[in-house]
């Protein structure tokens, strides 16, 4: 008798298994309806032309041909990755430093205050954040340039320049999500046993050596987690460029998700939008596999 048959023939075991599925069902149903379903729909739609109002017409592989010959898509992907990689690296770097600083001997209430302050922007709506920043970053009427002017720096066209606008997006995005990285790193730091530090101190190491040879290697799983999740999220950035620059000037801050939205809901090209969305899925999937493959070289598990 197979294990399954044994389980199903035993009424108690059967009840246990069914209960398990019952508890899992909300998540499973949600997953199927909101994730698997739309993905399948996107795959199917990518072979049609559909403007949402008239019935869809089959288009074969035309959308894929268009994908490969789209003059704007290449630079849009490049822009997206420039922004995404910059934000993830900055968040990792700054998040780690702040987490380590928060781990030092400071008053508990001070530590709590800083943790709250850093985490607070993370829970605020991205659109609200971007709206406020759009006021601050206005070249001639905003406060950031006013402060820069006080130290003699010329007004920077934050929201209206191919050079500076991506930086504006990066700044607002890092400001918003940094708290999450800090909190995760703080959690990661807690898992490092104090004995290791004590032993190292006894051996005559200084603060920096302890950070480099104990903290950093033992944090590599956390760094891997954050870089995988971070990159997947960062590549899909939408709210900040939408509110701050609407993708401009030209396509300088247009991200892939913005392009998908534009094709689908501005140009009513749902078929092509689905195709671009699928390409993004493939790209992200490939990147994630690469990250995990390389992780064996630098991630150290205790």
């Amino acid at each position: 008798m197979t294990a399954l048959a044994r389980t199903m023939s035993n009424p108690l075991r059967r009840a246990e298994v069914l209960t398990a599925y019952l508890f899992l069902s909300p998540t499973l149903i949600g997953f199927v309806v909101f994730i698997v379903g739309p993905v399948i729909a996107a795959v199917v739609l990518s072979t049609y032309n559909w403007n949402m109002i008239n019935p869809a017409e089959p288009a074969g592989l035309n959308n894929y041909k268009q994908l490969l010959s789209d003059p704007r898509l290449g630079s849009i992907y490049l822009t997206t990755f420039k922004i995404a990689v910059s934000t993830v690296l900055l968040k990792l770097f700054l998040g780690l430093i702040i987490a380590v600083l928060l781990d030092t001997k400071i008053h508990n209430w001070l530590r709590t205050f800083f943790r709250l302050s850093f985490f607070f922007p993370f829970v605020v709506s991205a659109t609200a954040v971007a709206l406020i920043w759009s006021f601050l970053l206005n070249k001639d009427l905003g406060m950031v340039n006013w402060f820069l002017g006080l130290v003699g720096i010329q007004r920077i066209p934050w929201l209206n320049s191919s050079t500076w606008s991506p930086l504006a997006i990066i700044i607002t995005d890092v400001w918003k999500d940094l708290g999450f990285y800090v909190v995760v790193f703080v959690g990661g730091l807690q898992t490092i046993s104090g004995d290791l530090y004590e032993a190292a101190e006894v051996d005559g190491s200084n603060r920096f050596q302890r950070f480099l040879y104990i903290t950093l290697p033992l944090l590599t799983p956390t760094i891997l987690f954050l870089s995988v999740i971070g990159l997947i999220n960062a590549v899909q950035i939408f709210a900040q460029p939408w509110v701050l620059t609407m993708g401009g000037p030209g396509d300088a801050t247009r991200t892939v998700v913005m392009y998908i939205f534009e094709q689908g809901f501005r140009f009513f090209n749902m078929g092509y939008a689905s195709t671009v969305a699928l390409s993004l899925f493939v790209v992200l999937f490939g990147l994630t596999i690469l990250q995990f493959a390389f992780s064996r070289r630098w991630v150290f598990y205790q």
Binding site: M52, I53, N54, S134, F135, N138, K139, D140, L141, G149, Q154, R155, P157, L159, N160, S161, S162, M246, G247, G248, P249, G250, D251, A252, E262, F265, R266, F267, F268
Partner: protein, 437 residues
């Protein structure tokens, strides 16, 4: 026998006739319109829904049995709202009516073919509507005619005019601009109103500022001032390489980089603050700036016609309520459309003492009420129609056209692309979007 049969049939016929005559008025009396209509409206802000609920409450006083269900769609401008409605329709929402502006007329009528021509309804109820039709400027009525058929009755509209801060003008020792001022005179004003007190090359206060987030508010008024347009009159091809268009864009670019009288493109909502603080002395906008200025109790401003180069041509956009052919109750929807032409409804557009709204009513008699509110020259909002005026260009694929056009003008105003190169590239992209057949 035969004689009796005839008598009997006559009696039956007589009874039937009497019954019919008696019952018919009864039936007519009972045929009060009843049912539900779904009405999509632009939910542009917190005042939108309560405003419509109030109008529907008034409608229900006259037609208590018609339920008007509000369906909300959001958006930063008419174009974005249109996307929202298209998405609703695609999602299966059965709409009877929607609130639609110029930007959507061609799409609904010619591309999607879901708008119902109103001519038969208008002819049937001519007696009731004549007073309204006489009260509305013919240019507004014509704006909703496609292929000779009337698809909407004008409800509210907006022209683009120049607002100026009167205190700043006084400060600079300038007289208020004349109604027929030219673009060259405008430039002189803008230069006189730009202040660089510490002479460091960057002004502290600007003479003029504009927004590049949409076609209506940014380049069109200047292109019209040149006598140009970005699409042909039949909407069959783009015309952005026309020298009149390119010159207008060059002028706007030069305002920022050559004459330095304007900051980079700034959202209108920010400019509503800037004109109050005096950071910017002149902005171009329609009547919808009024609520923000009125709530802040700001009165140091007035309006004037858009300058001509040299001939003036005011840009305007207008909205109303097309009945959709997916409606199971077009007659009910028509009752609502007629109701919206009433004076009392349009008076709400002008606003109440607590809250002036932001559109210009289609009825001239009601528009006179605008004089209750600032600015002093407020009646100009309607009276621009005494001179030449032109609708914002709205081919069927308006959203696509706008998306492409402002992408390129954005590069021009960021000083990253030359006007000629930008418009050449725009023309190519627009050709696949603005075409006939």
């Amino acid at each position: 026998m035969h004689h009796n049969l005839l008598k009997r049939s006559m009696r039956v016929l007589l009874v039937a006739a009497v019954l019919l005559l008696g019952v018919t008025p009864l039936m007519a009396h009972q045929a009060k319109p009843s049912g539900t209509i779904n009405f999509a409206f632009w939910n542009y802000g917190p005042d939108a829904e309560p405003g419509w609920k109030a109008i529907i409450a008034e409608f229900n006083k006259e037609y208590p049995d018609i339920t008007v269900k509000l369906v909300s769609a959001t958006g930063n401008n008419w174009g974005e709202y249109l996307n929202g409605v298209a998405t609703l329709i695609a999602g299966g929402e059965k709409l009877d009516l929607m609130w639609v502006a110029t930007e959507g007329v061609q799409l609904l009528v010619n591309q999607l073919k879901i708008a119902v021509p109103l001519d038969d309804y208008i002819a049937r109820d001519k007696a009731q509507l004549q007073e309204y039709l006489d009260d509305v400027n013919p240019q507004l009525l014509k704006a909703f005619q496609v292929n000779g058929k009337q698809y909407e009755l004008p409800y509210s509209w907006n022209p683009m005019v120049i607002y100026y801060n009167t205190a700043r003008l006084k400060e600079a020792g300038l007289e208020p601009p004349k109604a027929n001022w030219t673009r060259d005179e405008f430039l002189k004003y803008a230069q006189a109103l730009t202040v660089d007190a510490n002479k460091d090359g960057t002004p502290e206060k600007y003479g003029y500022a504009f927004d590049n987030s949409g076609v209506f508010v940014s380049a069109m008024p200047w292109i019209f001032a040149n006598g140009g347009d970005i699409v042909s009159d039949d909407f069959c091809k783009p015309t952005v390489t026309d020298p009149k268009v390119e010159e207008a864009l060059q002028f706007m670019h030069d305002l920022i980089y050559k004459y330095k009288v304007a900051p980079g493109p700034t959202p209108l909502n920010t400019l509503f603050q800037s004109i109050q603080t005096g950071d910017v002395a002149m902005i171009g906008v329609g009547r919808w700036a009024l609520p923000a200025l009125y709530k802040a109790k700001f009165t140091d401003f007035d309006i004037i016609n858009w300058p001509g180069n040299p001939n003036q041509l005011t840009e305007f956009g207008i909205d109303g309520f097309p009945i959709l052919n997916t409606s199971p109750n077009p007659d009910l929807a028509w009752e609502f459309v007629k109701f919206m032409t009433n004076k009392s409804v349009e008076e709400r557009l002008v606003g109440t003492v607590d809250s002036p709204l932001g559109n210009v009513p289609a009825r001239k008699s009601v528009a006179q009420l605008m004089s209750k509110f600032p600015p002093k020259n407020g009646l100009l909002f309607y009276n621009v129609l005494d001179g030449p005026a032109k609708l914002v260009p709205a081919p069927p694929r308006f959203n696509q056209m706008e998306s492409i056009f402002i992408r390129y003008t954005g590069s021009i105003f960021a000083d990253e692309m030359k006007v000629a190169d930008a418009m050449e590239a725009a023309q190519k992209e627009l050709e696949s979007v603005v075409k006939c057949g």
